[in-house]
Subunit: 458 residues, 2 copies
């Protein structure tokens, strides 16, 4: 018992002693500067309104590359450079059509749909077929080829609204979007309709990437709005022979040249130890990509800008990284990891912001136990700013390729209750972003980078 | 040292043992029901769109009284009743006008303004005078009557953006709005313009209540948008003789009859112990009062509805209270306290939701130490839902009059970073409310009411 108490005591003592008054002061200065003079929102507004959608390979993505290079150069970062990377180049083409064509009750019913990213199109002649609804791959397999052959499979398992963590709800449903087409094609289906990844009943569809399995026919895949998923489900239940017509004009073009954009502040003492903070520059083509992930990009730039504005000279090297092609290929993240390995760079920590520009709640971490313990001991310094959640494993898709190099994977964790209302939809626009929430997120990341830079992670 | 460790240990032990698995399960059921089938958002949408603005004494307020009575009756609460209360009846009249009339640089400049609640109007002839800017009452007093006499005083101290708690920033600036007119009138001013209580630079003004001191001339008071406060300040600094014309048509009419609306579920074991949960039904006249405080009203109703839907029979008596006239008089809150005292009712706890329908973060409390300790010991049950903040004193304006009766004062504390973007403005509308955030708030309150009901507070 005494031993347990001692461990408890030492743990608490370690936590309290982490509250170095000088660190408290520095972190207060970071938050003050961000909340008074922060530039995240101004940058994001510019990116959203003047650049707009920027799917990998698109003119918008090229413009965003130049935009972020300019911004970082204008902020006098020590160096700013582009990392060339070839990216998939998928285009949506003209507006998709989907309609129920033979409802006895309702006649023709137009559905709110969009093609899923990377999907093949139907072309101008479209596809018409009977609809079979399933909730899972298991259910699909049980139906088998005899039922599915020649049909359109409708995947309609909703995100679980009772999950407090909306990303867990997303993770529990997104297999349908990513792998549904190939699973259905294996049994002879001609197309798939996937219920949008949204928690609420909405009028608009959510796009997002899908992937074709090798050696399986590629069939068209679309998302339908959650409201119309409910409607379609009702009709399919009531009318056995219900048919839908789908017409999409999307196609995958040849890979296109693009870039990651990197800005750096050189370390003064341990310049070979790199701390990355980043987001992805590409966005879906349907909207401005304000929360996904313009927010993460401007916050990454803002972290370095705050260091400069406050005259904090980093001991270690800090990098703001705008990754390209997270949404439908991850080529930028892979290229960044590949170059880090080839150049024998030492990335001690990478922080990704890709859960929206909302009020900060904490950081997720996947790292060695001593590293996690060290970071958790800083919690009392961050709690006054509402950062209380340091318990979940995590990181980010773009920084993932750094993990094998021993880099601590850290994910910025904001409040994500609203995230999936906007994610991959036409409503992910600047008006959905609160300036204060966005700036506070940047300050939270700058505070963590400050501590990692000052103390290292060993 | 051993003693300290023992106390630490006992404290931690008490915390852990509060995690009764049955309570965990019940609270999970409450959140599940709210997130799957919650009705807060649907109710709020109805209130915002079909009733709309509802300042005390207005037809909208009368409609809102009937609306909430109907809703609670339709939900089969054990009893629903109205508490008559006379309320101040202030009307805005036609659109306010304010313009700079003699700028050498810019000529005539229209300003985005609105009259402050309870203010007298200028009438159709308006008021023109030179403008004197001050940042505080101290600065005003230093200028003295010789400078202020016959002038319009412009109070321009902003809310401090570096306060992480936006309510603290509000508290640090709102004296200008509430008391500025009388302070200026004491020195002979003819009107006041107050910088809006908003953290960002915005195009629209924020209204809100002001109060006249006894035996001081009543002069007109208006709020100006934060953007135009900056502009006006610049002009006043550059041009010494700058004059503004103000025209407002607001007036205070005779007190009007209105009501608090109360719904009740009877307690099965300790029916004389009452737990209140409430918000205020009145809102400013400029918008729908979605966050302020339609959210609190529908959440109060939802708490009782969740108990009914889940078949939880309360041991104690639960009341959902829609208070009238919080915004410009607090008559409803005072009447409720007065009746509680007169009827010798025992209100063990009152929870007010009046900080917006945002993601729940915790509860503020003003109560005896043992009561606070008891509630804090429930923290491990609420933390999985993001409720981590139980350390601040608080309660709510409407429940305040119950404090002298020994009632524990509890304030629902959501994330308030966005609150003052909407507060008292034309943009406090239903589209600013996230359904999930609103329902989670109701669930958080229902969970706390569940625990107080089950265990009491002694």
């Amino acid at each position: 018992m005494k031993k347990i108490l001692l461990i408890l005591f030492l743990g608490i003592h370690a936590m309290l002693s982490a509250q170095n008054p000088q660190d408290q002061k520095s972190i207060k200065e970071i938050f003050n500067e961000a909340l008074k003079n922060g530039k995240s929102y101004q940058m994001l507004k510019d990116l959203c309104i003047n650049i707009g959608p920027r799917l990998a390979g698109s003119p918008g993505a090229a413009a965003a590359v130049e935009w972020s290079r300019h911004i970082m150069e204008r902020n006098d970062f020590d160096s700013v450079w582009l990392q060339p990377v070839m990216v998939p180049h998928w285009v949506r083409g003209q507006q998709e059509i989907a309609r129920v064509i033979n409802s006895k009750k309702m006649g023709t019913v137009s559905l709110a749909v969009c093609a899923l990213g990377n999907s093949v199109g139907t072309g101008p002649s479209g596809v018409s077929a009977q609809v079979v609804e399933v909730k899972s791959f298991d259910e699909l397999k049980q139906l088998g080829a005899k039922t599915v052959q020649g049909k359109i499979v409708f995947f309609n398992r909703p995100m679980d609204p009772t999950q407090v963590n909306t990303f867990a709800a997303y993770g529990g449903a997104v297999d349908q979007r990513v792998g549904g087409a190939s699973e259905a094609a294996k049994l002879g289906a001609v197309a798939v309709i996937v219920r949008s990844m949204g928690v609420n009943l909405e009028d608009y569809p959510h796009t997002g990437s899908m992937r074709y399995a090798d050696n399986v026919p590629k069939i068209p895949a679309i998302a339908v709005s959650t409201k119309h998923a409910e409607l379609l489900s009702k009709l399919v239940r009531e009318e056995k022979e219900l048919q839908v017509y789908i017409e999409t004009h999307c196609e995958m073009l040849d890979d296109a040249p693009s870039f990651n954009v990197v800005g750096q502040l050189n370390g003064s003492e341990y310049k070979d130890e790199i701390i990355d903070v980043g987001g992805h520059l590409d966005s879906w083509d349907l909207a401005q990509g304000a929360h996904d992930d313009g927010a993460g990009c401007v916050q990454a730039i803002e972290v370095l800008r705050l260091f400069k504005m406050l005259g904090i000279k980093p001991k270690r090297t800090l990098r703001a990284v705008m990754f390209m092609n997270e949404e439908n290929g991850l080529r930028g993240g892979m290229k960044y990891g590949e170059l880090a390995k080839a150049n024998k760079e030492k990335h001690i920590a990478a922080i990704e912001s890709d859960e929206g520009g909302f009020t900060p709640r904490g950081f997720s971490m996947t790292a060695d136990e001593p590293v996690k313990t060290k970071i958790k001991n800083w919690k009392p310094l961050l709690e006054p700013y509402g950062l209380t959640d340091f318990e979940h494993p995590g990181g980010g898709a773009d920084i993932g390729p750094l993990a094998p190099l021993g880099t601590a994977m850290i994910g910025f964790s904001p409040d994500t209750q609203r995230y999936f209302d906007y994610h991959h939809t036409p409503v992910d626009t600047i008006d959905k972003v609160s300036p204060r929430e966005l700036e506070m997120g940047a300050a939270a990341m700058a505070a963590l980078v400050f501590l990692i830079d000052k103390y290292g992670l060993k």
